[in-house]
Symmetry: C2
């Protein structure tokens, strides 16, 4: 029996468990709970229907029913994993479990600086909750603030304040296991714990990270540390004219991150990562070819930008930030053409008083990046994220940029945005690659180029931080130490925790035995995903 049939047979049980008004399909499934950047007429894969449970007990009941019917679920929090496949599942016909209804901020503790949230709470909602209730705490937001705090964190998502590594801010989770059991991690494994959200490790192994980028459980609650609102903060931009000066800047910033003169997640954005958030292509030139150097020069002047633009945040007393800023100025003095611009704000600045490009450094929600999708003026624009990790050096930056330029600029003939997001020792190159989602051929070309970049960067020793549905197997395939020992371990854990394989099979390339495709399928870049062939084992 195929997945679609099983899903249909299970539907009445789900309706009885959570109420039929929370079982959605048809237009809303296609519009809201699929991949919004896929070809809408020929989607790669789509779920059978959507379940929206209202509480933890309903999530547990859903999991129990799925085990009975041996039908796969595909879980999302807000369901906005866009650029990586949105809400669409790996296996067509899977039942989408969407947790938007579980949207309570369960607790905010100002003394200890933490919030406890359910999966439906978005960054914008958490931010609004803090402001409305007068908490002197900041959120840390990713580029788009409509996403789920939990969903983003589970996917190793990042923001741009000193709390920008979201995975590192997690303190205490509640998780529904694939068999419906309910665990709390860390100190929360003690029922009356005073330490659940103040101390990250309990007695025995800490398992929080095991539930991130995996399909081992459904996280229904998470404690997340929040940054105390500083007395003041300063947005320090460094604009570089040339690619080479950007690479010099990367090397100059590394020691300042390592010694914690700079504590936020610094981002260095290409000109074309900024301009399309504030204008469209035809404002600048006719035609579809990538913008040339002449146009770039006009853009730089118009926006006061460089070809590369670093965004650094400083936090604390003005006196402290003065010292830190001087150290930064000294460190970049040797970089020809580097221009530093700083703006200072009080910690409680009103949003409307903060220059929009500075907002991310203070964890202020923003949606400007969505404008990117209007750049080409397609009726339906898609984008796919490509995000390799490298050591934090200018040489690695050059290598990655050149690969991107060759495949996207020269190969696809596209404009594309790039941003290096820095930790003290590594960086992610985020690349925004746009395509015409109304044109299957254009989608295919773009995905083929992305697959080629994944292979090429892997051959050089780089690895992806996160991947689109389409590339999860391809990326996992690159992690090849000892005959893919890492994948074998993940799959062994998967089978132990989820013997029927019902929870998000295939996520991050982790397949349960029950739904494991033939090994040849794992390296294919863009076949239509098999709906049920693999499930016939049952």
């Amino acid at each position: 029996m195929d997945i679609v049939d099983r899903a249909e047979r299970a539907r009445p049980d789900f309706e009885a468990a959570i109420g039929s008004e929370w079982v959605l399909d048809g237009e809303v499934l296609a519009r809201e709970f699929s991949d919004p950047y896929d070809n809408l007429e020929q989607p790669r894969s789509r779920g059978s229907y959507v379940l929206q449970p209202g509480n933890v007990e309903e999530v547990r009941e859903i999991v129990r029913i799925a085990n009975e019917h041996k039908v796969p679920l595909w879980t999302g929090s807000q369901g906005r994993n866009n650029g990586y496949g949105g809400s669409a599942p790996r296996l067509a016909g899977s039942i989408i479990v969407n947790l938007r209804r579980m949207n309570r901020v369960l607790e905010v503790n100002e003394t200890f600086g933490y919030a406890v949230v359910e999966p439906g709470v978005s960054f914008a909602e958490l931010n609004a909750h803090l402001i409305e209730n007068g908490y002197a705490l900041w959120t840390d937001v990713p580029d788009l603030s409509w996403g789920s705090v939990i969903g983003n964190t589970l996917e190793h998502g990042v923001g741009y304040t000193p709390y920008g590594e979201h995975a590192d801010q997690v303190c205490g989770m509640e998780v529904v296991l694939p068999d419906g059991d309910l665990v709390r991690t860390g100190m929360g494994a003690q029922a009356n714990s005073r330490n659940f959200h103040t101390h990250p490790r309990g007695f025995g192994p800490r398992l929080d990270q095991m539930f991130m980028q995996s399909n081992f459980g459904i996280v229904t609650k998470m404690g997340l540390w929040l940054m105390p609102r500083p007395e003041a903060w300063r947005a320090v931009w460094i604009h570089c004219e040339t690619d080479e000066s950007c690479y010099q800047l990367i090397d100059a910033i590394r020691p300042l991150l390592m010694d914690r003169t700079i504590t936020n997640r610094v981002t260095i954005m290409s000109l074309m990562a900024v301009v399309p958030t504030q204008s469209v292509k035809k404002d600048w030139h006719e035609g579809k070819e990538p913008v040339n150097d002449e146009v770039r020069a006009i853009m730089r002047e118009r926006f006061g930008l460089g070809n590369w633009n670093a965004r650094i945040g400083l936090y604390g007393t003005p006196e402290l930030m003065d010292v830190q800023q001087r150290l930064i100025e000294q460190a970049i003095a040797h970089i020809g053409g580097a221009r530093l611009v700083a703006r200072e704000y009080p910690g409680d600045a009103r949003v409307e008083d903060v220059f929009p490009p500075d907002q991310a450094m203070a964890g202020i929600p923003n949606m400007d990046l969505l404008n990117f999708l209007n750049w080409y003026g397609f009726e339906h624009t898609g984008h796919v994220a490509f995000a390799p990790i490298s050591p934090l050096t200018g040489d690695d930056g050059r290598t990655l940029h050149n690969i991107l330029e060759r495949h996207c600029g020269q190969g696809l003939g596209r404009d594309f945005g790039e941003a290096f997001a820095l930790t003290a020792r590594s960086m992610q190159l985020f690349a925004l690659v746009l395509y015409n989602a109304g044109d299957t051929n254009d989608i295919d070309r773009t995905f083929e180029a992305t697959a080629a970049m994944i292979r090429e960067t892997a051959a050089l020793g780089y690895g992806e931080y996160r991947g689109h549905l389409e590339f999860m197997d391809l990326i996992a395939e690159q992690f090849d130490f000892n005959d893919h020992a890492g994948r074998r371990l993940n799959q062994r854990l998967k089978d132990a925790l989820d013997p029927n394989g019902i929870l998000s099979p295939g996520r991050q390339g982790i397949w349960p035995t029950a739904f494991r495709p033939a090994s040849g399928a794992l390296t294919t870049a863009r076949p239509p995903l098999p709906a049920a062939a693999a499930a016939d084992a049952d």
Copy 2:
């Protein structure tokens, strides 16, 4: 067949695998690879013999042989887990696997600030390696520097620089699984990775923390981030006269840790945590009763200490530290009798120029704490660690101190040392409780008092950070959310990864099915551990 018999039957295979000269027993087993603080004539549990493999392949071979013979191993790195049971196993007759021979510093990278070490490398050895080779990097050391960097880190051990949370500095491990398979975590799962020790997360779940405080694998290699040597650093001590001023200090320091004015792991030590490292009891008074207030007053004056003494480290340029120190002075201005003393050192100060109590703040190896064992002048002194975690408030400090005073001071009539080790939101109370290890009755009374404190603090919502062999089951028992769901999950993972249960059964209360004792045994505080009864299932 019992464990001892199985071990004997397996011995020739182990000898063939690693060479009979690396299979140790007799006097060296008793002296070096047991619990040094146990009664030496009537030890609670002791291994059959010791295996010292020389490399990863030998570790894999040992694990394979143990599976064949279904005999439990008990792994230690340096084997100095003293205060928690030393090298002794949970199940008497287990084979001790000691990794001291694997003592290479495999790599040091100054650009990215990391070292890659094998399990036999001690903190003192890593520190010496850095100094000898002129690397401008610091170690972060725990109180005793003879322990293994890997061993301490796997047990959630801590030090006192800004890199004091050792578990958070881990980047990339190599692990032998219980079936002999070999995995690398994070980016290292890619064979040619450039990111193994610079970026902590790979694609899919991050499993490093799953291998800490567990028995799911043997870590044979670990990348650990090291702090770049600062231009200068400053030891800032705050001496408090009374217990109440200590609790006020805890509340005053919390905001400075949360906003990262202070970045090191601050420790607040009781007078009696310091004095016994530099003198013995009979220097101060005759008799065995705890030191009284009169003696304390003399001690304070002699050493220039308070009843409580906070140790804060500042790092960077003198200008930066001036600003930070002023913020600290402002924050403690309201605390009556609090006295601040600061000493500044260049980043590359010679060890002999650093006041010994300041050394930990710069990650300088030190063994002074061992002097503690001479305090009472017993021929054979033992100590047991008691280390509950609490939220970072003065009220919690008072509660924990009072429990300790009641059980150890009044109940046992002992002197005991205390130290609060702070993170931004939580603290560990480390208590050093001494006993006469030549007197079984004294051992038993001390362990009974410790068990009582574990139960009493758990009832109030505190949890232990780490536990002595004797208390692992008792502590695990306190983690009772949803009918001990956390323990059930750990045990399910254990059985999946280690079906024969050969790897350190019982560690942290995680028992494989193959060696799981009857549930009644789990809450008993100090029975002699069963040698083989539980293993008869086979």
